[in-house]
């Protein structure tokens, strides 16, 4: 089967010897370097050390759950489920009902969402769809700067700037225009549920807006083009081609913001008034689960008192976990697990 198409390579070297068991023992080079035996121990130790670090993360969560459950046992035995539906918070008589705090947490968080969601989506839409490219970086940077401000500084600003503003201008205005709803009645202290809701809104806007931005960016370009090709105006293109596609992710972003709002402590504590009462008006002072922990934990006299507080901590923990898990599921379903950067 000789082949004339391929030119014969010039190949004249002597017959090389094929390797065989006999001549395998060619003089091995003297490599004075690296002759030592390699032990498998360091690799094994390192591997287990790293796995231990991973396990430590799991243990940390376990520790948190354990301490919360153990600490709240006393209160659970004393009050059972009634703990969460009674509104009487009475340390003196050792009678504890957590309803006012649950109410306060829920109302302040929902209020903050009502304010923050339209604003966050507006900012996200602007940055991703309408903004000139040059501004994009600066705008996203500044919105993320909002996330870097510590909670206590938000609270400081809220006490001395926001609250007087509310007291002097906003609350009287709301009382006269919308007072009939019952939501804006009572003396305009400034401090109260409304202030808490507003400062919370400011604090969760960065996270909702940054996740929304990511979710909007992931919407494929051809969706936008399809809408435009049908003759849509820019806003219609955004509404039909982008927002509709990103719906699940936006909902996820909102729920993530909710999760953040539920656990927020310092700024809320400083402006909510710290009164364990349930009131319809947003002007009234209130109390959240996180705030009562912040205020009363170190003052708790008596084991039942402390246990009741820890039980509130447990409830807060469970609620935020569920909310956050739900949110991540939604966001992941849209971004397909691409790593989220920044404020999460």
């Amino acid at each position: 089967m000789s082949n004339q198409a391929l030119p014969r390579p010039r190949f004249d070297p002597p017959e090389p010897e094929r390797a065989s068991k006999a001549n395998l023992k060619v003089e091995s080079r003297t490599a004075p370097l690296l002759q030592g035996k390699v032990s498998a121990v360091p690799d094994a130790v390192f591997g287990w050390a790293m796995r231990l670090c991973g396990i430590a993360v799991v243990l940390l969560l376990g520790l948190i759950v354990y301490e919360l459950i153990v600490g709240s046992r006393l209160s659970w035995h004393a009050f059972g489920f009634k703990f969460f539906v009674q509104s009487d918070w009475n340390p003196v008589e050792d009678s504890f009902g957590a309803l006012p705090f649950i109410y306060g947490t829920v109302v302040s968080s929902i209020l903050s969402l009502i304010i923050a969601v339209p604003l966050s989506i507006g900012v996200a839409v602007f940055i991703t769809e309408m903004c000139p490219v040059a501004l994009r970086g600066i705008l996203s940077f500044t919105t993320e700067l909002l996330a870097a401000i510590p909670s206590v500084i938000y609270g400081l600003w809220a006490i001395f700037i926001l609250v007087p503003l509310l007291r002097t201008y906003v609350q009287p205005f709301l009382a006269t225009t919308l007072g009939w709803t019952g939501l804006f009645s009572g003396p305009p202290y400034g401090i109260g549920m409304l202030a808490a809701g507003i400062i919370l809104a400011i604090m969760i806007i960065p996270i909702i807006s940054s996740i929304t931005r990511e979710v909007l960016t992931v919407v494929p370009q051809h969706q936008r083009e399809a809408a435009l090709a049908l003759g849509a105006t820019r806003w219609e293109m955004i509404r039909i081609g982008v927002l509709r596609n990103a719906r699940a992710g936006i909902v996820g972003a909102i729920i993530l913001g909710l999760g953040r709002a539920l656990g927020e402590t310092m700024a809320v504590t400083m402006v909510i008034g710290n009164r364990p009462e349930i009131a319809k008006s947003l002007f009234a002072p209130g109390y959240t689960m996180a705030s009562v922990l912040a205020n009363e934990f170190t003052e708790a006299t008596g084991d039942v008192y402390l246990s009741a507080l820890i039980e509130i901590g447990l409830a807060l923990f469970l609620v935020t976990i569920v909310v956050n898990a739900l949110a991540r599921l939604l966001v992941w379903s849209v971004t397909r697990g691409q790593p989220t950067k920044g404020v999460v």
Partner: protein
């Protein structure tokens, strides 16, 4: 050729639709302005109200008794640094280790579980973590301390550092690891001296982000470090912290303390920004130097 094609008549976009389009653009711009307003307001007020009160006395003295003017937050500034140092010592190695695990040993179901739990940990409210740190440190030691505060903050740092370390390590191409394996470098050496080394700047950025996040935290310190009006160098006493001091002063009824709260807040922000920038610069110079 009996019928000439009729010209296409495009309906003009209705006035309503055009107005809506323009209106929504205006609305969007408005939202941006409304959102940025508080940002500028906060920074402006921080500077305006705080700058006048930052002086040498403020930075070097401890608080004066109630009612007396003057005094400062020196102990709080130092206390914060001590607490953050403890937190970093505990949290950074653990976080980076967990990140290495996730990236190099955890590409499987177990790693997924750790990843998920790390994200859950990230979302736990900081005050709850304070409760846990109280339970495991303060209750055992029967006193508040900087250690307890450090533990609380360390717990908060770990998930963030673990995830960013993992992401940065995953960015290192597999070819680089293979080059090291091919040279007969053992796996642990490859992971540390090659993979981690290549990802150093990204890992440090992640650590820095975690640091900046916990530097301003107050809630977890409320019942761990607890705060202190005086200098404290003993490990069995409560410790002052800048964020705690700001909180205490802000909710107090004294104007003098309000003034100092603003100053403290300004110092806190400056310290956070300074720390973040310093690390950025160090990293940039480090990688340019190219030393092994």
């Amino acid at each position: 050729m009996s019928t000439a094609p009729t010209a296409l008549v495009m309906p003009a976009i209705s006035l309503r639709r055009r107005i809506t389009d323009h209106a929504m653009t205006v609305v969007s711009v408005l939202t941006v302005i409304i959102v940025l307003l508080p940002l500028f307001a906060i920074f402006a007020y921080l500077v305006y109200k705080g700058i006048g009160s930052i002086n040498w006395a403020f930075l070097t003295q401890t608080p004066k008794p109630v009612g007396e003017p003057g005094g400062g937050m020196a102990n709080a500034i130092v206390g914060s640094m001590v607490i953050l140092a403890i937190a970093s010592l505990l949290g950074v190695p653990l976080g980076i280790g967990a990140g290495i695990y996730l990236s190099e040993y955890g590409r499987n179901r177990y790693g997924d579980a750790v990843r998920f739990i790390s994200d859950v940990l990230n979302g736990v409210p900081s005050i709850v973590i304070g409760i846990v740190a109280y339970a495991i440190v303060v209750m055992r030691q029967k006193h508040f301390s900087a250690l307890a505060g450090g533990v609380a903050l360390a717990i908060m740092m770990v998930p963030t550092i673990a995830r960013t370390t993992e992401q940065m390590l995953l960015l290192v191409p597999q070819a680089i690891r293979e080059a090291a394996y091919g040279l007969g470098v053992s796996r642990w050496r490859t992971t540390l001296s090659i993979t981690l080394r290549t990802a150093t700047s990204g890992v440090i950025t992640g650590v820095m982000l975690a640091f900046a996040r916990v530097a301003g935290e107050t809630a977890p310190l409320l019942f761990t470090a607890f705060g202190n009006q005086f200098w404290n160098w003993k490990s069995d006493q409560p410790t002052a912290a800048l964020s705690l001091q700001i909180f205490t002063y802000a909710i107090s009824p004294f104007d003098e303390w309000h003034r100092q709260a603003w100053a403290g807040a300004l110092v806190l922000i400056i310290l956070i920004v300074a720390a973040v920038t310093a690390v950025r610069i160090a990293v940039r110079h480090g990688t340019l130097a190219g030393a092994q």
